[in-house]
């Protein structure tokens, strides 16, 4: 990728920047952030994003509730988080300034759309006097740009109506920020052409606004505000910028290819999981069937029905949906059929915070069914890792004939980062055999099929309808080991319960040991799971750079745990577990290994920042 933007002599080189776009829900901030991210990705920077938007599609315009923001860190080196405090805040209206100013670093830069700072909007945001005039922003670098009127001006020449021109002002902001960070405009211009194909006037308006924003930077003598961030030195390869939900969807497609089994998705729309349904519905040429079911229960039921038929049955949802699916997941435990349940966690309980992140479904995944119904749990740790974990979830499900819960969360789902694309040849082969023959000889000497006769993994045969001679009945009633016939025998129930547990425990045979990162001989170990990985990694790096000894363990497999986990944990004097819940993994570790693990808990709908974690770890270790 070559830099096609001219490199003005005034651009200062910096290693990274954190930019936060904030505006009204109707201002297109997600799109603006996304375009800036993509241009930066194609430029070769490393990056991480944090979209942060309200649950309402359009909360009342101009209010604090309606503020939608997008934070991105771009960098010339490997990074793992969207950054702690932004150094630049683009505030498209007073509400955006009011709600997000506290996030800005001391002395940071504020770029406001000056046109929106008038009485009505100020009042809606709860400002008595305009913060642009009352000196309250004195500690910051404030750039007042009349974005709306400048956009309208250039659009007017094109014959675009004022109201339509107003919709292009986010492209003005994008143009200006692109100028500030020496981003080439080409990728955005191409994207506009493609996205708005057929709507010539919209294309013209957006292009004009983008260029006007860029030109504004050039001509307004903002020279000291121009920077360049060199491409990051990443491992050689082909990269793409991808968010967690897309990576997860592609992981499922890949799993289907690598298993040589068709994929079936049963799903009911729910934030923040719906994008997986949307993505998989596009790829019908991979033989993927998607069903938008009448409810969450039907979605998982249909997936289980498809698994019974020899497909990889998957259902995607968020916490409330998992609660509804519980009974069917229990049936899958009893039937010992493959099923993948994907939980894109969000704030709870109940409707909770639908668009905000949280990782508080671990206990539900572990125990959220009646009876003794163990199942394996895996969790993704970064947007791109969602791809690998999806394949792993499918591998476990089809190998061990069990429902598997995959935990992701809203932050991973919507956040994006560059991904070094794997070669298809490097993906694991996860093929399994379907049963084709009888497996037992009856008392009368005739061959029989026993649906609950097990292999070395304690998995029962996957005998799908349509296979001659293997007709059998399965059901949720307890069945006799081996024959699968209904059995109310007390000893048999004990045996089957033990086998179901042992089968899940046995999965540990095929999962890798945990790796202790950082200072293996440290006294302190930070243990994490899920999306806290980025912030923990960054916090551990900072602490070690400051001379502290810290070790780090991050878990993908939460049930069963890797075999060496207990031994590794017991080596440390202090085990701290940052979690976006009140300490769910902490409780599991304490229960399982009798170690004195302590939680660093956060449930604020926002991911940890690295800086916050460093502080909280220091506080905890000073106790």
């Amino acid at each position: 990728m070559t830099d096609t933007a001219e490199q003005p002599t005034t651009a200062r080189e910096i290693s990274h920047v954190i930019v936060r776009f904030a505006g009204d829900s109707g201002d297109g901030m997600q799109l603006t952030g996304d375009r800036f991210t993509n241009a930066s990705a194609l430029f070769g920077n490393d990056l991480a994003t944090l979209p942060d938007f309200p649950a309402e599609i359009r909360a009342p315009a101009g209010t604090l509730a309606g503020v939608s923001a997008f934070q991105v860190q771009i960098s010339d080196h490997d990074i793992t988080t969207p950054g702690d405090a932004p150094s630049v805040l683009i505030a498209m209206n007073p509400a955006a300034l009011k709600s997000d100013l506290h996030r800005l670093e001391a002395g940071g830069t504020i770029i406001v759309n000056e046109d929106t700072f008038e009485d009505r909007n100020l009042a809606k945001a709860g400002y008595g006097e305009s913060p642009l005039d009352d000196g309250s922003l004195d500690g910051y670098t404030l750039l007042k740009v009349p974005m709306t009127s400048l956009t309208k001006e250039v659009c007017n020449d094109l014959g675009v109506k004022a109201r339509d021109a107003d919709r292009s002002k986010n492209f003005f902001a994008l143009g200006l920020v692109s100028w500030m960070y020496s981003r080439p405009l080409e990728t955005t211009l191409d994207w506009i052409q493609e996205k708005f194909a057929g709507k010539d006037l919209v294309i013209a308006a957006n292009e004009a606004a983008l260029k006007a924003g860029h030109a504004f930077g050039e001509t307004a003598e903002l020279g000291e505000m121009r920077f360049v961030i060199k491409p990051a030195k990443l491992e050689p390869g082909t990269y793409t910028n991808i968010n967690g939900n897309t990576a997860l969807s592609w992981g499922l497609v890949a799993a289907s290819q690598q298993a040589n089994l068709p994929l079936f998705l049963g799903s009911y729309p729910i934030t923040p999981a719906s994008d997986i349904l949307h993505e998989l519905s596009k790829h019908k040429n991979f033989g993927i069937r998607t069903l938008q079911a009448e409810d969450e229960i039907a979605a998982v039921g249909a997936a289980l029905g498809a698994s019974y038929g020899g497909h990889i049955g998957v259902t995607t949802t968020s916490g409330p949906g998992v609660a509804l699916k519980g009974e069917t997941i229990g049936l899958a435990v009893s039937l010992e059929l493959p099923l993948v349940i994907i939980d894109i966690q969000r704030g709870g309980p109940s409707t909770g915070l639908p668009t905000k992140t949280e990782a508080s479904d671990l206990m539900m995944a572990m125990y959220g069914r009646h009876g003794e119904s163990p199942l394996p749990i895996v969790a993704a740790y970064s947007p791109t890792n969602c791809f690998d974990v999806a394949i792993e979830a499918v591998r476990i499900a089809i190998t061990y004939r069990t429902p598997v819960i995959l935990l992701s969360d809203g932050y991973l789902a919507n956040g994006s980062e560059p991904w070094r694309l794997p070669s298809v040849d490097s993906l694991p082969d996860i093929r399994v055999d379907l049963a084709t023959e009888t497996n037992h000889v009856g008392a009368d000497g005739e061959p029989e099929f026993w649906p609950y006769l097990r292999d070395d993994n304690l998995a029962r045969p996957w005998a799908v309808p349509g296979t001659p001679d293997l007709m059998h009945r399965v059901g949720g009633i307890e069945k006799q080991d081996g024959t699968g016939n209904i059995s109310y025998d007390p000893d048999n129930h004990q045996l089957m319960t033990d086998i179901r547990e042992a089968r899940i425990a046995k999965i540990a045979d095929t999962i890798p040991d945990v790796e202790v990162l950082g200072d293996v001989d440290a006294e302190l170990c930070i243990v994490g799971w899920g999306s806290t990985w980025g912030a923990i990694t960054s916090a551990v790096e900072r602490m070690r750079a400051a001379g502290q000894k810290v070790a780090q363990i991050h878990l993908t497999h939460l049930n069963p745990f890797p075999k060496n986990l207990g031994d590794e944990l017991r080596r440390f004097d202090r085990v701290l577990v940052p979690e976006m819940n009140t300490g769910q993994l902490t409780r599991l570790l304490r229960a399982e290994f009798l170690v004195d693990a302590q939680a660093i808990a956060k449930v604020m709908g926002q991911p940890f920042t690295a800086g916050e974690l460093v502080t909280r770890i220091q506080e905890a270790t000073n106790d």
Binding site: K284, A298, G301, G310
Partner: protein, 338 residues
């Protein structure tokens, strides 16, 4: 299907002991189906029975086919996934009135609406049997049960009306006292491409004995069952002396043929695009003590769901070629790091 092996009832019967109460209507339905299966020209391994929970839901255990006894109310959803994944299979869904109309009502109406190729047999005994005798969503108002000691104040569903309202493409009704009629209805349901639902009046001799006796007992049938025949004027009675007309409001009414003349009788049309006539007929009886239509209410052709899904897959492969994982991974903008 000449290559389908010749079978008998025995081949379709599993080795499991049947555990319904002696005298239960479920036995006669099971026998009717086990006797009928050899006539369908299908293979046992391509036949699947899926059920929910309830007395009726034990059905799959007794068939020597593939079968799943699932959870309460969910069988239409599970069967939908199976039928979509494997459109070549014959999928039968078995459940009672509680299973399909109460806890599973949502799945039932959506399976019907989508027109998934399922043969849904709803064993209606107007009571909860397996939980020992509570009123069901088809029990008559005023029903005294353990959970309604002062009589139920619920208004019941009419399953045929529900199915027609849910856009069902095949709706029929039969009863457990007439094997030949049951088999005729089940065969029609099997032959139908799309979702078929057959309501079977089934006697629960333990908790609701004789619920249908006034219409299904041999001596009562001629007078009380209105046997719907496509293209024929709707008549019934010991001497065919009664008939059905549509009045000015479009409501179906039972009349004496002598009073109105044969020409005035409504001619049954199960293939009518608009379900209005079928619906009117379904409203003739508000309980099994009035003349009640049995037979096929509606049989219309509509695109079948799994086929439509498969066609979209085939079309996507036609236009985009088979899935190429490498191409998918490179489908967003990419850049090289060297």
């Amino acid at each position: 299907m000449t290559d389908v092996p010749v079978t008998t009832k025995k081949d379709w019967t599993s080795d499991q002991e049947v555990r319904w109460c002696p005298g239960c209507g479920d036995y006669s339905i099971l026998t009717a189906i086990q006797l009928m299966m050899p006539d369908l020209g299908v293979r046992r391994e391509n036949t699947v029975f899926i059920s929910g929970i309830g007395c009726a839901a034990r059905f799959p255990y007794y068939m020597n086919t593939y079968g799943m006894h699932s959870i309460h109310g969910r069988s239409p959803a599970i069967a939908t996934g199976l039928a979509m994944a494997r459109p070549e299979l014959d999928v039968w869904v078995i459940g009672g009135d509680g299973d399909m109309l109460s806890i599973g009502g949502n799945h039932l109406i959506h399976a019907l609406r989508r027109n998934v190729n399922l043969n849904i047999l709803l064993f209606n005994n107007m009571i909860y049997g397996l939980t020992k005798g509570q009123f069901s969503p088809t029990s008559e108002t005023g029903k005294v049960t353990k959970s309604t000691p002062f009589g139920s104040v619920d208004r019941p569903f009419n399953p045929v009306s529900v199915a027609l309202g849910a856009e069902a493409t095949f709706v029929a009704r039969t009863h457990d006292m007439d094997r030949a009629h049951m088999q005729a209805m089940f065969k029609r349901a099997h032959a139908h491409q799309g979702a078929s639902i057959v309501e079977v009046f089934q006697n629960c001799n333990v908790f609701n004995d004789g619920a249908f006796a006034s219409i299904t007992k041999k001596d009562n049938r001629d007078a009380m069952l209105i046997d719907l025949q496509h293209g024929e004027p709707i008549r019934f009675g010991v001497d065919n002396e009664r008939g059905v007309i549509l009045d000015d409001d479009g409501l179906a009414r039972v009349v004496d043929v002598a009073d109105v003349g044969v020409e005035a009788l409504v001619v049954h049309d199960e293939t009518a695009d608009d379900p209005a006539l079928s619906f009117a007929l379904s409203r003739l009886a508000s309980g099994p003590d009035q003349p009640t239509p049995v037979g096929v209410f509606r049989a219309v052709e509509r695109p079948e769901y799994a086929q439509s899904t498969s066609q979209q897959l085939a079309a996507a492969q036609e236009s985009n070629g088979p899935g190429d994982l490498h191409a998918l991974l490179h489908s967003l903008p990419t850049w090289e790091v060297t």
